[in-house]
């Protein structure tokens, strides 16, 4: 695709100069850090009071660990149920960090919203300004769509990596976990988190090529999300991954290593490619 590198470079430069984008990302990271901070404080307080109660009753220190594990199991099972995972899907993580299932929850529920806030007007802004015409006499629609999707994914990926690392450090300092032994699993988790934004970004490309006004594009993509989640939760990539890993594919990440991660990235990329193609076709057929 001739010109792809130039489109990506230009879009990245535009993103770095976009006050709206930087404000959105900054605000979302701030909220994520604040919520995590509060959540960690609650966990630490609960642990401390449980420990104090056990000591008051003259029970041995091991009882605290048993109780803590039971509490952890309850929290994680509740998270699994809220995500619609089968019972026991998250069992492998019960003896591991709190942070992993919490991040999993964040990824599956909130990440698409972050993507929408950043990418809802991927094309609609250009369509309403008419500035797309300048580019389309010089490069193909496919290059333009692929370039914009890639650049947005890179911007989001960088912000997510930063936020993800920050949250882990915050948790490690406050809660004492995750520990270094969780490192490989956390890295894989991070990679999957970032890759999971790809189809959402590409989906934004589709809706923003269909709708000329940015506000209408935002409403459309949120409506689409609601429809996908409420009416057909197991549709598209979540459904595909669910069929490949019936026990909750995310839970297997730190148990089976690299293979599920690669499969997940492939599935995400495949769906993103399909959406890029659809966006290109829409752009080819619509009048500018």
């Amino acid at each position: 695709m001739r010109g792809l590198r130039e489109v990506v470079t230009y879009e990245l430069e535009t993103a770095l100069r976009s006050r709206r984008l930087l404000l959105t990302l900054g605000l979302v990271l701030l909220i994520a850090f604040s919520v995590t901070h509060c959540g960690l404080n609650v966990v630490v307080d609960v642990q401390a009071s449980a420990r104090g109660a056990l000591t008051d009753q003259g029970l041995p220190a091991e009882a605290n660990d048993v109780l803590a594990t039971a509490f952890r199991a309850q929290v994680i099972t509740a998270l699994g149920e809220s995500l619609g995972l089968e019972e026991g899907a998250l069992r492998p993580v019960i003896t591991r960090s709190y942070v992993l299932p919490i991040l999993l929850f964040f990824a599956q529920v909130f990440l698409p919203f972050l993507v929408f806030l950043v990418a809802f007007d991927l094309f609609s802004g250009d369509l309403s300004r008419g500035s797309l015409r300048y580019s389309l006499v010089r490069t193909s629609r496919r290059t333009l769509v692929a370039g914009k999707v890639l650049a947005t994914s890179v911007t989001l990926g960088a912000a997510l990596a930063l936020g993800y690392a920050g949250l882990l450090v915050m948790s490690a300092r406050r809660l004492g976990e995750p520990t270094l032994s969780d490192g490989p699993a956390l890295v894989l988790m991070g990679v999957v988190l970032i890759a999971s934004t790809l189809p959402w970004v590409a989906l934004c490309a589709v809706t923003s090529t269909l709708v000329r006004q940015p506000l209408a594009a935002m409403v459309s993509v949120f409506a689409l999300y609601v429809v996908m989640r409420v009416l057909s939760a197991s549709w598209l990539w979540d459904g595909a991954l669910g069929r490949i890993f019936p026990l909750g594919w995310n839970a297997l990440l730190w148990k089976k290593g690299l293979a599920p991660v690669l499969v997940a990235i492939f599935v995400y990329a495949a769906f993103a490619c399909v959406f890029v193609w659809v966006a290109e076709q829409v752009l080819r057929r619509r009048e500018l």
Partner: protein, 314 residues
């Protein structure tokens, strides 16, 4: 034989019930500067849209340098287009925007930077190069849009209303720029400013109601009329007897310093005009201005009122 720079064959385009183009056929000669003129709603911008692939024609065919509009990207760098009302993206300075467009055309980085500088100088925007798209005035936006079309010195330029909304100084600069392109590139310009087009265009096409009413060399269209006009000092006495003898009393009008003569059909246009001037000069008349034929505006008005009264000159 190479394909014509611009070719439209029986192109039709509808917006709902409204028929914007009704079988537009137009071929533009290589190296010519063609003015596409027409009243509001005549279909000029729609014609540009169809040519550039921004709008899909409902019928007929169109091509730029032998390539259909749908495959416009194959022509990258060979065609420069200035849309009528498109804005630049708001975030980046215009110099960076232009470098980006030049890079998209396939120019190396250093050439792209030089090209951006050159075109900004050409349109008089170099001093405003650090302004962002959102900070440009209407006139600046127009010139920035023209600048991006000139990047890489394309062999074909399609310019939709390039002088509309410009102050007199920049209008003059743009007109001079277009004149300097004559013979070097094929240029199609649409405009309402007929005086401008008459001055710079080698060819004209008049579009009325989605139909090309007249097309041909500007000179041929404007001189095709049999009328000749000479402006003189109103206080002077004219050699009326000689004028009557040469052109006939019925074909001569003199009022308020304006001499209007209609030559007979068998009278050669060039000879008649030379004879008129000679008679007046020999009679000691001080000539202020002389015009042979009709102005482009008159041709245009005649075409719009007749709705097809004029025929193609080529």
């Amino acid at each position: 034989m190479s394909a014509p720079p611009v070719a439209l064959q029986a192109v039709t385009k509808r917006y709902g019930r409204h028929e914007a183009l009704r079988g537009v056929t137009l071929n533009v000669e290589r190296g010519s500067l063609l003015g596409l003129i027409g009243p509001n709603g005549a279909g000029k911008t729609t014609t540009f849209g169809v040519l550039c692939g921004w709008l899909r024609a409902d019928g007929g065919s169109a091509s730029l340098l032998g390539v259909p509009p749908a495959a416009m990207e194959r022509l990258r760098g060979r065609v420069g287009v200035m849309p009528q009302d498109s804005h630049f993206p708001p975030a980046l300075p215009i110099v960076r925007q232009l470098q980006h467009f030049a890079r998209l055309q396939g120019l190396p980085r250093d050439t792209a930077e030089r090209e951006a500088e050159r075109v900004l100088h050409e349109v008089g925007l170099w001093e405003s190069r650090t302004k962002k798209g959102s900070e440009l005035s209407h006139g600046m936006l127009k010139r920035a849009a023209l600048a991006q079309a000139l990047l890489g010195q394309p062999e074909l330029l399609l310019l939709d209303e390039p002088t509309n909304g410009l102050d007199p100084e920049h209008r003059r600069r743009v007109l001079d720029l277009l004149v300097s392109l004559r013979g070097k590139a094929t240029v199609v310009v649409s405009s309402h400013l007929l005086g401008d087009l008459e001055e710079i265009c080698t060819h004209v096409a008049i579009l009325v109601g989605g139909v090309v009413q007249a097309t041909g060399r500007t000179e041929e269209l404007t001189r095709a009329g049999r009328r000749m006009r000479v402006r003189v000092d109103p206080g002077q006495t004219l050699p009326m007897e000689t004028l009557h003898r040469r052109f006939g009393a019925d074909n001569l009008r003199y009022h308020g310093g304006l001499v209007e003569v209609t030559r007979s059909e068998d009278d050669d246009a060039k000879d008649a005009f030379a004879a008129l001037l000679r008679v007046l000069l020999d009679g000691g008349v001080d000539i202020q201005d002389a015009q042979r034929g009709v102005s482009l505006e008159e041709v245009f008005l005649s075409a719009t009122q007749a709705g097809g009264g004029l025929t193609g000159a080529s």
